[in-house]
Subunit: 341 residues, 2 copies
Amino acid sequence: MKQKATLKQIAKELNVSVSTVSKALSNSPEISEPTKIKVQEFAKLKNYKPNNIAVNLKSKRSKTIGVIIPNILNPFFAKVFSGIEKGANDKGYNVITCISNESLEKEIHAMEMLSNGTIDGFILSISEETQKEQEFKHFKEAMSDDLPIVMFDRISDEVTCDKVIVDDFEASKDAVNHLIKLKCKNIALVSSIDNLSVGKLRAEGYIRALVDNKYTINEDIIIRTDNPDDFDERLKKLFDTKTIDGIFALDEHASVMAMKAAIKRGIKIPEELSIIGFADGVWSRRLTPSLSTISQHGPEIGEAAAEMLIKRLEAKEGEEPDYETRTIKTELRQRESTRKL
Amino acid sequence: MKQKATLKQIAKELNVSVSTVSKALSNSPEISEPTKIKVQEFAKLKNYKPNNIAVNLKSKRSKTIGVIIPNILNPFFAKVFSGIEKGANDKGYNVITCISNESLEKEIHAMEMLSNGTIDGFILSISEETQKEQEFKHFKEAMSDDLPIVMFDRISDEVTCDKVIVDDFEASKDAVNHLIKLKCKNIALVSSIDNLSVGKLRAEGYIRALVDNKYTINEDIIIRTDNPDDFDERLKKLFDTKTIDGIFALDEHASVMAMKAAIKRGIKIPEELSIIGFADGVWSRRLTPSLSTISQHGPEIGEAAAEMLIKRLEAKEGEEPDYETRTIKTELRQRESTRKL
DNA sequence: TACAATTGCTTTAACGTTTTACGAAACTAT
DNA sequence: ATAGTTTCGTAAAACGTTAAAGCAATTGTA
C-alpha cells in the first residue's frame, strides 16, 4: 500500500511551504506562474487528491445529504431516491442513505447517527409508525440544530420545513372524474394505506369527485384499511355481494389485488369494469390487461427535493429562502384497464 | 440557530482544559470521579455530540462505505442494498450510495468522487457497460489505494478482491432439472441479459442440465440477447413456430414477457407449459398464475458483503484476511407456473 | 535617492478531536 | 525527612486543509 499524497509531503519534496502548495493548486494569484506549474505537475504526478475530511472540517460543511426512506423496495421510493441522487450528484453532493423500515425508532436512530457533522441536511419521507404515533420531535430538533429537512410525499403539517408533494387530492379527483366520464355508475374505492396521510388525501379526492358529479357516496363499496389481510378479505366480500363497474385503487397492492379478484370471477376488463390505480413500478405495464395508473413522477420529486435543500444550504447566512411546499403534477396514464373515451 | 457545543466551549465554561473534557467524556481513568460527573452532566445538558468529521480526520477512517449500484429500480439490487445498509448500520457504519445507471463513466466518476477519504471501502456490482468494455482499471486503482472493494453478483475475475455471488450455474441446473422431472420435453431458454456475466453462467447451467439428462440442445428454442426489442420479436417467432412445454427464463423481463405471450396464445399454464424464471420483485407472486422463481436472497448477499468489507477494514495492519468469494445459495420457489411433482 | 507599492512566498492560526508527554500535588515507604 | 509513586490534571502536537497576516525582496514612482 502506497500512502496517500498530502500537501505536507508535496511541500517537503518541493522545498516550499504547505500553503504555497495549497494556493498553487487552487490557482491563487499570490503564486508565480512557474511555481504554480511546478507544483501542479508534481501533484498530478503524485495523484494528489485533497483529503475531503480535512476540507470538510475546515469548511464546516460536508457536502453530504442524509436521505431517510421508509422502504427501498417500494418502487415509488426507489424512483424518488434515484432523483435525489441525481440532483445531489449534479451539484457535487453525496448522499448517505438510511432505511427506516417504517419504524419510528430506526428513523430517530438514523437521524441521530447523522446529526454530528456527517451531513448538512435531510431529505426524508415520514415512516408509517411515525405518522401513526404523531411523534415529530426529532424533526423539530434537527431543524433547530440547523440541519434543514426537506420532506417528500409523506409529510407533516406540524413541522415547518420545505416539502415536496404530489397533488394527491387533485389527482384522485381527476382519476375518478375520468371513470365517471367512462360512464361508470358504481365506482368502488379500495385502499390498503389508510394510515398514511396520502391515503387520506386520495380518499378525499374520490369523495369530492363523486359529490361534484352528484353521485351518492356508497360506503358499501368503499374499502379503507391499513391491514393487507383485512383488505383481501373485504375485497372478496365486495366482489361477492356488490356489482361495480369502476374501481379506483389508492395503492399498488390494492390495484393488483382488485384486478386479480376481478379476473378470477371472469369479469371482463375493461368492458365490464374499468380500473385506475396509483402505481409506480414497471409492472402495471406488464400486467394483463395493463393497468391504467396515476404516475407520480418519482424522479422529479427527488430532484426537486435535492434542489430545494441545496439551495437552502448554499444560501448566505440570513438570506435563506422561505419554507416552501412544492407540488409535482401527476399524470393519468391510460392503458388497457380502462375503456377508451 | 444555537451553535453546536464543542469540547473547547465546554472546557471554557467549566474552567478545565479541552483534554480533560475529552477524557472525562470517554471515561478515562486519568480523570477523577467528581470531575467526570461534572463534565458528563454538563455535556449532556448542552447536548454535546462529538463532531464526526473531526473524529474522522483524527482517526483517518470515516466509518462509511461507498455503495455503487447499477440500477436501484431493479428489485434485486434494491434488496441487496437493504441488506448492505442493515449490515453496515449494525456495525456503526454509514452508507454512501451512487447509482451508476449501467454506465462506465458514472461508475468511474462515482469512485473518484469518493476516493478522497470520504469512504473506507466499496461494495459494488459492475455496470453493464463496464462489463462490455472489460475496463477494470478503476477497480484495481482503488484496491492499490487501500480502498478495498467487495463485488457482488456481477463480478470480474480480473480484479482480486472479495466477492459475493449467487450460485448461478447450480441454480440454473437445478431449475432445468426440475423442469425435466416435470416431464418437459422441449425446454426453451429465454434471456435478455446475455451481456452480463451472470446471464452467461445461467445459460451454461441450462446447457449442462440438458446434457446431463441426455437431451439434445436445440438452438431454435434458445433466445439469448441483450436487447429487449430484439428479445420481444424473437419471442413472438418462437411461439409462432415451435412447440415448447417448458421455459427457463434468465431474468425478470424474459420471465414476464414469456408468460404474457403464452397466455395470449391461450396456452394453459402450467398444464401445457411450465415456466421457471429468475425474479426478485414482489410481482412474481402476484401474477396470474404466479411465477415459480429462483430467489436469490438479495438481503443476505448485501449483509454478507457488508460483513466481509467491515471485517477487512477492522483487521489489524498486516492481519487482513485472504480474499474470499462467498456463494449465497439460491432457492427454487415453486408457485403456480409449474406443475406439482 | 528615498519611499511606497507590488510580488511571491512563509508563518501562523484555525477547524474539533484524540493522545502523548509532562507536571504538580498528594500519598507511600523507608 | 527524603525519595519514589500515584493521582489528577494540563499543555502541546497531530490529523490535512484553508486563509489571514506577515515579511523580504523586487519593482515602481517622484
